[in-house]
């Protein structure tokens, strides 16, 4: 291999799949895709729909970018990636409106905004354009699952506290006073902030514990 060859020779591995789940989680570690993470996690149904739609776009565009990587000239690669991503987003938009119109209405402009989700363009440019189709697919599934898992965690926390319900089913009796702020925009920042705080606290304890031992 010459030094200019971009593809790492590594074969597909389990690591490609699991990387996005935790160690390089797009939201918690890479801090990408925060806009939908904050905006549409006020109900579990919205979180799941946004997670799955993003995973679909991520998988579709990673597959396309990886399989076309030798035909896309370097000069117009970003244009091509955005075109590929926008095509999958438009398809997801139509399909969601046809299958789940209620959720489509709730998500509103955030479906179209998947086009500018940094996770997708980031994975296309940094990973899918340099590796085999199989590795790109595994990476997309892992990153998509990691993103969906965080949306699920945040939306479950916010819906339970802010609406006293899970997937629309009331959990508590009429005596429960919902913390309305949790389903409002500040609730998104609070939930994500506390989540990151817990992670940082855990990482610090681990490093301290490692040193004392």
């Amino acid at each position: 291999m010459t030094s200019t060859a971009p593809a790492p020779p590594a074969p597909a591995s389990l690591e490609d799949l699991t990387r996005g789940l935790w160690r390089e989680n797009p939201v918690l570690v890479q801090m990408l895709g925060l806009c939908p993470t904050l905006a549409v996690t006020n109900a579990v149904a919205n979180g799941i729909a946004m997670g799955l739609a993003t995973t679909f776009v991520l998988l579709g565009s990673s597959l396309m970018v990886a399989s076309l990587r030798r035909f896309i000239p370097n000069e117009v690669r970003i244009t091509s990636y955005v075109l590929i991503i926008a095509t999958f987003v438009t398809i997801a938009d139509f399909v969601l409106e046809a299958l789940v119109p209620g959720i489509h209405k709730q998500l509103g402009a955030f479906i179209a905004l998947i086009v500018v989700n940094c996770i997708i363009l980031g994975r296309a440019e940094a990973f899918a354009s340099r590796v085999t189709v199989r590795r790109a697919a595994l990476d997309a599934i892992g990153m998509g699952a990691g993103f969906t898992a965080i949306l699920l965690l945040m939306s479950a926390t916010r819906e339970v506290l802010g609406s006293g319900a899970l997937l629309g089913h009331p959990l508590f009796g009429p005596g429960f006073e919902p913390w309305v702020i949790m389903v409002l925009p500040p609730g998104g920042f609070l939930t994500l902030g506390i989540l990151l705080l817990l992670l940082a606290w855990r990482a610090k304890r681990r490093s301290l514990g490692g040193r004392s031992r």
Partner: protein, 223 residues
Amino acid sequence: MTESHPHGMTVGAASPARTPSGRLLVTLGLAGALAGGLIVSVYQATLPRIEAHRAALVEAAVREVLKNPTRWDTLYLEPNGLTRKLPAGADPARAERVFWGYDGRDRPVGAAIVAGQPGFADVVTLMFGLDPASGTVLGMKVLGSKETPGLGDRIERDTAFTSQFPGALTPLLGVKTRVGRDPSQVAVITGATISSRTVIRIINQATARWRPLLQRYGERGSP
């Protein structure tokens, strides 16, 4: 995979490979055409279902605000009044319309009107039923709003608020607490005054606009 990369997808900028402009144009043109073709075919495949959902939403709302009419006509707005036929050349998706309902004995019960105005967060769209002869509201249903969850969105859910509309007499008057039996008074929701008053304003302005047209249509006699 150790194939060579003839098109020079270099990572660094050390030796930027030049691609001929013609090839760039062909690549982007082809990609655009492919993407366009794909999008149009998915659009056409999903359109019937999307339109069916929209029609079902309107139908359910008409049934609710006109208290289960037996049937209804769609009336389109044209320069000299309302007509059952879509004016020639009008775009069926954009033409302004109301729904004119009939009861079991084929007597007109009133009209369902869709209207919207900016509320607290975004445009509030609602449908309400109006008896044009008396000016009485028959029912009200919010079709779309982004009002604050837990506060402003009570205009959709709070039955103490929504139940005031059937039987209310236009023009409506938003009050803090209803006094006496004045049928035009509507008590607004505490903590959601702007959203409540938006609903009242939408109904009043749409009534002012549509009631004369509906009265004229009613007088001409329904077929």
